[in-house]
């Protein structure tokens, strides 16, 4: 029994290792954002979204992912960027954050890149609202990628709720 669990642990740590420092990058307008790859389940094209009433505007509704019903969030709207109609480049990144499955609508998906920890700096302490979802800035050559804090993306909606209540 012990051996099996040990092996399992090995595999898990190996998987964790192989996913370490890897980010899936996507574009919103001209900005490039990165998501930790361990959260990503799959990437699907845009599909019919069923709106759910009484939701904040960034929650576009729910979709049918092979029989599983998952909510979708428009990341543009989450970052208070203007809404843009969906096209064939529009993608839904399905992420699983602590057992909560959610689709993130982005303009287009770029690539998977490795950014070593040494190349990541904490975001400048700007009071701007959109910044609270950024947990770090990764440097890749001359470019910078804004690395997102997935958990905050999901859970940090106090501000909106306060807004909605007033």
């Amino acid at each position: 029994m012990k051996n099996v669990t040990d092996m399992q642990k090995d595999i898990e740590s190996y998987e964790e290792d192989s996913q370490k420092d890897k980010y899936l990058t996507f574009m919103l307008d001209d900005e490039c954002y990165g998501l930790e790859i361990r959260y990503v389940t799959e990437i699907i094209g845009i599909q019919k979204i069923t709106p759910v009433p009484e939701m904040p505007d960034f929650v576009r509704g729910i979709i049918n992912l092979r029989g599983k019903i998952i909510p979708v969030m428009d990341v543009r709207l989450r970052f208070r960027k203007p809404f843009q109609p969906y096209m064939d480049r529009t993608c839904i990144i399905v992420v699983d954050i602590h057992e909560i499955c959610i689709g993130l609508i982005v303009d287009r998906v770029a690539e998977v890149i490795t950014i070593p920890e040494s190349e990541v700096v904490s975001p400048p302490d700007v009071q701007k609202r959109g910044n609270r979802f950024v947990m770090g800035i990764g440097k890749v050559g001359q470019e910078v990628k804004l690395l997102l804090d997935c958990e905050k993306l999901l859970n940090d909606h106090e501000v909106e709720q306060l807004h909605a209540n007033t």
């Binding site: 019919k48 069923t50 939701m55 019903i69 959610i102």
Partner: protein, 666 residues
């Protein structure tokens, strides 16, 4: 819980033992009602204790096993001395304490804790009863002193495993009742013995004063027994001889043959009861059923995707149509079967109340009898889990506050014994569970006063019907009984009942006649998993309305529509006026159809309240698999009027409307 999944033996043990304990509790309550233990019951209890003892010992839960052993001894004595008088009420009290003890320990095991309860006190009391029974034996059964010698030969079913432990159980169980015994193989605790027993059976010689039938029935109670041979022998000498020869493993075969000749009919009977039952039922984890249900839901959708595929439009495919109709029929049948599997009768939940009633009436010095009607009504497993607590709460309330003490009842000219009725009935797609007592009924004046104190009355008191007043008790923060007893009135009132029931889409109401009792009615849907629904369209969105709440749907006439000065729209139907809810406005859906006469009105009803829902068009009726909205969506706030969602045949999502919620939205 993860612990449990990994160990199927432990899981099986827990399920089996829990069932046995519940069965035991039921038997004791029945006995108590009959004011005595019948012979059959004693046998049954003995059998249960025996099984619990065996399996608990095997799992190394010693405290459960020792307690079961003590009780088994007690009942074994009673079984063998049917003429013996005994005090049934002390005994049943003790048995119930034993039941509670075992339940608690099982609960600990389930939660992954060690079963560390102390059984010694209970055992002491069991022993005391047993001793007093033995002392009180004034007329010893005449044939008792005559000791006989028996030889028993056991064969276990081939794949039962741990034959040596099973043999040990037999020996262990015999120790108390036999004067002398020996067995082959000698050292049954040795692993090697298992192989010997498997191939040659287990042989036991014993000397006891019991009659042949008694010994036989006791021995044949062994689980996993394939064959049992039991015969009288003359003396210990023969035993010695036989033992010697058996040790060489030569004579076994011959022995068996002679035995078969001697008792050919016995062998067939020796097949234990348990194996006969095993083929009939199996225990399945509810999660697996849920998964199966989901899969079937997907199958239904996949089937629709194939048979109604857009590629097929305009094609004449006779064979294909035939085949797809066949497919549809089968999927429908699978769906029905899966639903059926999930349905369980309410009888278990009801029987649990028997115990509550018994304990409470004893404690409170009231005389209450429980009556059950329609307890075999079946409800979805998930729902049962949600309604057990509310029923318990209502039952406790009825006994604590409703039914009067014996003196009060006599003074009021009622029979001494109060009657608590638990009733279940199936009406359409719903199940009614009624908890009725014949106690003093609800006190209207007190309820009103209390409601006033707490500021719970929102309309003129003169306008309130009796029913309205009684139903005030369901409001949060309402509790009429000042004194807190052990059983109810712990500050959590009826509103908790309402919440629990509402969680499964049900409602609670109450009616009462002063002096004659109160009736609580719980109305719950038959199933949560699949409902009959009417699909409607509003703009791009689709909604499903449960058919059970639909009264009618119609295309309205311009002249029937009334608008009041506040802009509220209403419609006159057959002389009555009903409010109109525009779904597209309520849920801010864009649609071209905004004139009432262009769309369809659906009249929905819940608890006697009616309203008309305005939609673009009807899409048709269909059985839909109910799915909860994703947790993330629910984390914002619950959406009034929407209870869940479902997948339609084309893979699109439809939101399921909750009529109750719609009516409450103002």
């Amino acid at each position: 819980m993860s612990n449990l999944r990994e160990d199927p033996i432990l899981e099986a043990y827990l399920t089996e033992t829990t069932q046995l304990v519940e069965q035991l509790e039921e038997i004791i309550l029945v006995c108590e009602e009959a004011r005595g233990f019948s012979e059959d019951m004693i046998h049954e209890i003995f059998r249960i204790m025996h099984t619990i003892k065996g399996s608990s010992a095997m799992m190394h839960f010693t405290n459960i096993a020792t307690l079961a052993h003590a009780l088994e001894d007690l009942f074994s004595f009673m079984r063998n001395h049917p003429q013996q008088e005994f005090e049934w009420s002390t005994l049943s009290d003790l048995m119930l304490e034993g039941v509670d003890f075992t339940k608690l320990e099982l609960c600990k095991i389930k939660n992954g804790d060690a079963p560390d309860g102390d059984e010694s006190d209970l055992i002491r009391r069991v022993k005391r009863i047993l001793e007093s029974l033995e002392r009180g034996e004034l007329n010893p059964i005449p044939q008792a002193p005559l000791s006989r010698h028996y030889k028993a030969h056991f064969f276990f079913t081939e794949d039962c495993g741990m034959e040596n432990v099973r043999a040990y159980q037999i020996v262990h169980q015999l120790k108390e009742m036999v004067e002398e015994y020996r067995h082959h193989p000698d050292n049954i605790l040795d692993e090697l013995a298992a192989d010997v027993i498997r191939t040659h059976g287990f042989q036991l010689w014993l000397k006891t004063d019991k009659l042949y039938d008694e010994v036989y029935s006791l021995l044949s109670n062994t689980s996993y027994l394939r064959q049992l041979e039991l015969f009288l022998t003359d003396s210990m000498a023969e035993q010695q001889a036989e033992e010697g020869s058996a040790a060489e493993n030569e004579v076994c075969h011959d022995n068996k043959q002679t035995a078969e000749k001697q008792h050919p009919s016995r062998d067939k009977e020796a097949v234990p009861n348990t194996s006969r039952h095993q083929g009939k039922t199996i225990n399945v984890n509810v999660h697996k059923l849920d998964e199966l249900m989901d899969l079937v839901g997907e199958l239904v959708i996949a089937e629709a995707m194939v048979t109604q595929n857009t590629d097929l439009i305009g094609l004449e495919l006779e064979q294909f149509q035939k085949a797809s109709r066949h497919l549809q029929k089968i999927t429908k049948e699978i769906q029905d079967k899966v639903m059926e599997i999930r349905m369980v009768p309410l009888v278990m939940s009801f029987q649990r109340m028997q115990r509550v009633v018994r304990d409470m009436s004893k404690e409170l010095g009231k005389d209450v009898q429980i009556k059950m009607v329609g307890e075999h009504t079946e409800v979805d497993k998930n729902i049962i889990e949600h309604i057990s607590d509310p029923i318990m709460h209502l039952v406790r309330n009825a006994i604590d506050h409703g039914i009067e003490t014996v003196e009060d009842r006599v003074a009021a000219g009622k029979p001494e014994t109060g009657v608590l009725t638990l009733e279940a009935q199936n009406i359409g797609g719903e199940v009614l569970i009624i908890v009725r007592d014949d106690g003093r009924g609800l006190d209207k004046a007190r309820i009103l006063q209390k409601a006033r104190e707490h500021g719970l009355i929102h309309k003129p008191e003169a306008d309130m019907t009796d029913r309205d007043i009684y139903n005030l008790i369901f409001l949060p923060g309402f509790s009429t009984k000042e004194a807190i007893t052990e059983y109810s009135g712990r500050g959590v009132g009826m509103d908790v009942v309402v919440q629990n029931i509402a969680a499964v889409g049900g409602t609670v109401s109450v009616d009462s006649t002063p002096g004659q009792g109160a009736t609580f009615t719980i109305k719950i849907p038959l199933t949560l998993a699949i409902i009959d629904g009417m699909n409607v369209r509003v703009g791009e969105s689709k909604y499903t309305i449960p058919t059970t709440s639909i009264d009618s749907s119609f295309r309205p006439n311009e002249r029937d529509i009334i608008t009041d000065p506040h802009g509220n729209e209403m419609i006159m139907v057959r002389g009555n006026v009903y409010p109109i809810i525009r779904l597209h406005e309520r849920y801010r859906v864009e649609t071209n159809i905004t004139r009432i006469v262009d769309g369809i009105l659906i009249m929905v009803e819940q608890d006697g309240h009616r309203t008309c829902v305005f939609v673009d068009e009807l899409l048709g009726q269909q059985q839909v698999v109910v799915k909860a909205l994703p947790a993330y969506i629910r984390s914002f706030h619950s959406i009034e009027g929407i209870s869940g969602c479902t997948l339609l045949g084309d893979g699109e999502i439809s939101l399921i409307l909750d009529v109750q919620g719609l009516l409450n939205m103002k």
